[in-house]
């Protein structure tokens, strides 16, 4: 019986097992992997995925998807940089304005999905291409750079030994977990993801919840965009291209059900770490680009597959 409990615990944490295996594997393959500076590097590198993954977790929890996350990152890069460099906005003003815009894009997604009823995959795909186009139009296609040096702190600074973006990520995870576990609207997210109709009849304003969730997804993607901008110190119209898929991968690796209703932030963290460790480890081992693609695909299948297989066995 006790054995069973341990096993069940292990199963619900299958993704952490995958993480540990990968971690140990890389540590053996290249001893530098374990150096504290490399571990911080990984944490710094995944910070943007981590931050964006929280909003995506919410969206996927309600069986939605946000394909515009990468575009939001891009446009936040461009707009924030543009405001600082070309419009003479102060750093905080530029950041706040671009985050408001990110939330605005999220609300737009919410409007299309909730009020009009367009499937999320289509609505957010449309947003993606529109704002990718807009980012090019605004920047004329060229990078924007030359910010106040203080701006670097967000993405490149340290508090003691800990990189600032990592601290931001941890705070975001804490906020995300808090929302999901402690607040009433976090409960609503699960309810809406599980059964929209019944949620409505239980008095949940499902429409608002969807607006809220897409707005939050915009906000977290926007935050990731700011961190990215500070890290690269230069805004590129390609900054967030394809990012949404990495983020979705993290979230699904973290066991959030794409059909909605189930998922935990704690496991999403594992998903994020796996992607981080994998990318870092393969570059450390100087695996070629092509092989990196193949390996990433395989790890994804194995990790998610292992999880799904466990669950399938458990339920019949």
């Amino acid at each position: 019986m006790k054995n069973n409990v341990v096993l069940n615990q292990l199963k619900s944490k299958a993704i952490w097992v995958v993480f540990v295996i990968l971690f140990i594997g890389f540590a053996i393959a290249n001893p530098r992997f374990l150096s504290s500076s490399n571990l911080f590097t990984i944490a710094r590198q995944v910070s943007m995925y981590g931050i964006a993954s929280i909003g995506m977790t919410f969206v996927i929890l309600i069986a939605g998807i946000d394909l515009s996350a990468g575009s939001v990152i891009t446009i936040v890069n461009i707009v924030c940089a543009y405001l600082m460099v070309n419009s003479g906005f102060s750093m905080p003003a530029a950041i706040i304005c671009s985050l408001i815009m990110a939330v605005g894009i999220g609300i737009l997604n919410g409007f299309m999905v909730s009020t009009i009823g367009i499937p999320a995959i289509i609505a957010t795909f449309a947003t993606q291409i529109v704002f990718e186009g807009a980012a090019y139009l605004l920047s004329g296609g060229t990078p924007i750079y030359g910010f106040d040096t203080r701006f670097k702190i967000i993405g490149q600074g340290y508090v003691g030994p800990i990189p600032v973006p990592v601290i931001i990520m941890i705070c975001c995870f804490a906020v995300g977990a808090f929302i999901l576990n402690k607040t009433y609207f976090g409960r609503y997210f699960y309810a809406v993801g599980g059964n929209e109709e019944a949620s409505k009849l239980s008095g949940i304003r499902v429409g608002y919840i969807k607006y809220l969730i897409y707005a939050l997804s915009g906000l977290f993607a926007g935050l990731a965009g700011i961190v990215m901008l500070s890290r690269t110190n230069s805004a590129q119209p390609t900054a967030g291209k394809g990012y949404e898929f990495d983020v979705i991968t993290c979230v699904v690796l973290g066991g959030v059900s794409v059909s909605g209703g189930y998922g935990k932030i704690s496991n999403v963290i594992a998903g994020v770490m796996i992607i981080g460790v994998l990318t870092n480890g393969m570059v450390l081992l100087n695996v070629s680009t092509y092989m990196q693609m193949v390996v990433k695909g395989l790890v994804l299948v194995l990790a998610v597959g292992f999880d799904c297989f466990q669950q399938k066995r458990a339920t019949t």
Binding site: Y188, A191, G194, A198, K200, L201
Partner: protein
């Protein structure tokens, strides 16, 4: 083995994480008999019959069909061996026509081609046999719950099965439909088909069955010969105690204050509905399937908006645009379609019960988890919800216990007016009695109830007054002393009259 038995289940055990649904249950079905399977909610009836088709894989035990032993079953194997099942949950495909649903998984084919025409013709015949008017070409998604169930029944009958298993087939049906279903069952029986019939309506059991198998808490209790048994014994076996009356008495508690006053409410298929309910009253709504009772409830609850007329609630005109608004006014709806509209299946019991009040028990959006737990605990105890833990997901509960969770939710919301739409559908006698007592408690506490029920007995037993609807209009009103089954039926089918009035 004994040739007389067409189907034998031997030593079936089924474990779920944390729950043992069946403990060593054995059961035999004779050729050409109707075997009733009864037990409280969660007794394991559905789980047991699902093992016959492989929809549930038992942890141990075996299935013998016609002397042939099976250790692993699949839906295909079951069908090939003459087993047809009507599951408790609907199993039709909404995007396909009624005809195609009848032949789901086994279409009439010419090579790889489907012969839609032939299927439609066959469907016509099958529906005619059941005495139901469904156009075979209609998409099942566009049919009402009752008709969807009739399609299910027709589908099972079509299969020419040797054993027909029906899990609460009558739950969504009205009396007339139940009658035509019974006729078909008797016809099948006369042709030598065996039937396993599950129902919480004991009158049906007595009318139809030859033998009765009773389950309790996943265990086999006893087999009875129907004609030699009495209801009290049956109930005692099921619930493990005696239940005296079927409708508990209540103190007179109707006040003068009018809680709900509908004035010419029109929309959602209903026309010019006028009704008043007094505080502490139980107003019954009777009618046939499609009469528009659910539709009326939806409008009062803000799930669908009325097009004209007035809703006056506690003396104030209200116009709820969403269920949330209605809930805030103090109105609750226990919907008829439990799985789709009632319970949040993937969410825990605790969360379900607290769902309408989360905002209220939160400070700065943060939930007061102590209060959350207390509320859930309170209603679990009050309603006798059978569960190992409040964190159990509702989808893992039996149907009746799911219904109790939904009730708990609205009790927790402390609503003034509670609309019950078929509240005891699929609920066992014991629990039914609990719910009746609850309804009494509620009105005695000053709450008001609108009760929609297709069970005539229940409607008459529980209501203070009955209004009858037909085709979206009120066709009559009966005071307690006037309650009579024929009067209600006459009003419910007063279709001609309604049409005349329209002209």
């Amino acid at each position: 083995m004994n040739d007389e038995y067409i189907l034998q289940l031997q030593h079936i055990r089924k474990e779920y994480p944390g729950v043992v649904a069946l403990k060593d249950v054995s059961l035999e079905v004779k050729k050409g008999e109707i075997l009733a399977l009864i037990g409280e909610n969660g007794a394991g009836k559905s789980t047991l019959i699902k093992t016959c088709s492989g929809a549930v894989i038992p942890t141990s035990g075996k299935i013998i069909i016609n002397g042939k032993e099976f250790t692993s079953m699949t839906p295909q194997l079951a069908a090939e061996n003459g087993i047809a099942i009507i599951y408790q949950e609907f199993n039709n495909v909404k995007g396909l026509s009624a005809a195609e649903n009848l032949f789901l998984g086994n279409p009439i084919r010419k090579g790889i081609l489907v012969d839609k025409k032939a299927m439609e013709e066959e469907a016509e015949k099958a529906f005619a046999q059941l005495n139901i008017k469904i156009n075979p070409k209609t998409l099942v998604g566009n049919l009402t719950v009752g008709y969807q169930q009739m399609v299910e029944i027709a589908k099972a009958i079509m299969q020419d099965a040797k054993v027909l298993i029906m899990d609460e087939p009558s739950a969504p049906l009205t009396n007339a439909e139940v009658e035509s279903m019974f006729k078909v069952c008797e016809l099948l029986k006369s042709k030598g088909v065996s039937i396993i019939y599950i129902s919480h309506r004991l009158d049906e059991i007595y009318r139809l069955s030859d033998r009765i198998v009773v389950l309790r808490d996943g265990e086999y209790v006893k087999t009875l010969i129907t004609k030699d048994s009495v209801v009290d014994e049956l109930i005692h076996l099921m619930v493990g105690r005696d239940l005296k009356e079927s409708y508990p008495p209540r103190k007179p508690c109707i006040k003068e204050e009018i809680v709900l006053d509908l004035q010419n409410v029109t929309g959602n298929g209903d026309k010019e509905i006028n009704l008043q309910i007094k505080k502490g009253e139980v107003l019954g709504l009777g009618g046939l399937v499609g009469a528009g009772r659910t539709e009326l409830a939806q409008m009062i609850f803000g799930a669908v908006r009325k097009t004209s007329g007035k809703i006056v609630f506690k003396g104030k005109e209200i116009d709820p645009k969403t269920p949330r608004e209605a809930i805030d006014f103090g109105i609750a709806l226990v919907p008829e379609d439990r799985k789709r509209h009632g319970a949040l299946l993937g969410v825990s019991i605790k969360n379900n019960i607290n769902m309408p009040i989360y905002k209220k028990i939160s400070r700065f959006s943060v939930i007061d988890s102590k209060q959350e737990l207390e509320t859930a605990q309170k209603y679990k105890e009050e309603l006798l919800i059978k569960t190992p833990s409040l964190n159990q997901l509702v989808k893992n509960l039996s149907g009746g216990n799911q219904q109790k969770v939904i009730l708990g939710k609205w009790l927790a919301a402390n609503s003034e007016l509670i609309i019950f739409d078929e509240p005891t559908r699929g609920i066992d006698v014991g629990a039914k009695f609990e719910i009746y007592k609850l309804i009494n408690n509620l009105v005695e506490q000053g709450k008001t109830i609108l009760l929609i029920s297709s069970e005539m007995e229940e409607l008459m037993g529980m209501s203070d007054r009955i209004l009858v609807l037909a085709e979206g209009r009120i066709t009559g009103e009966l005071r307690k002393e006037e309650f009579k089954q024929d009067s209600i039926m006459r009003m419910a089918s007063a279709v001609e009259e309604v049409k005349k009035n329209e002209k």
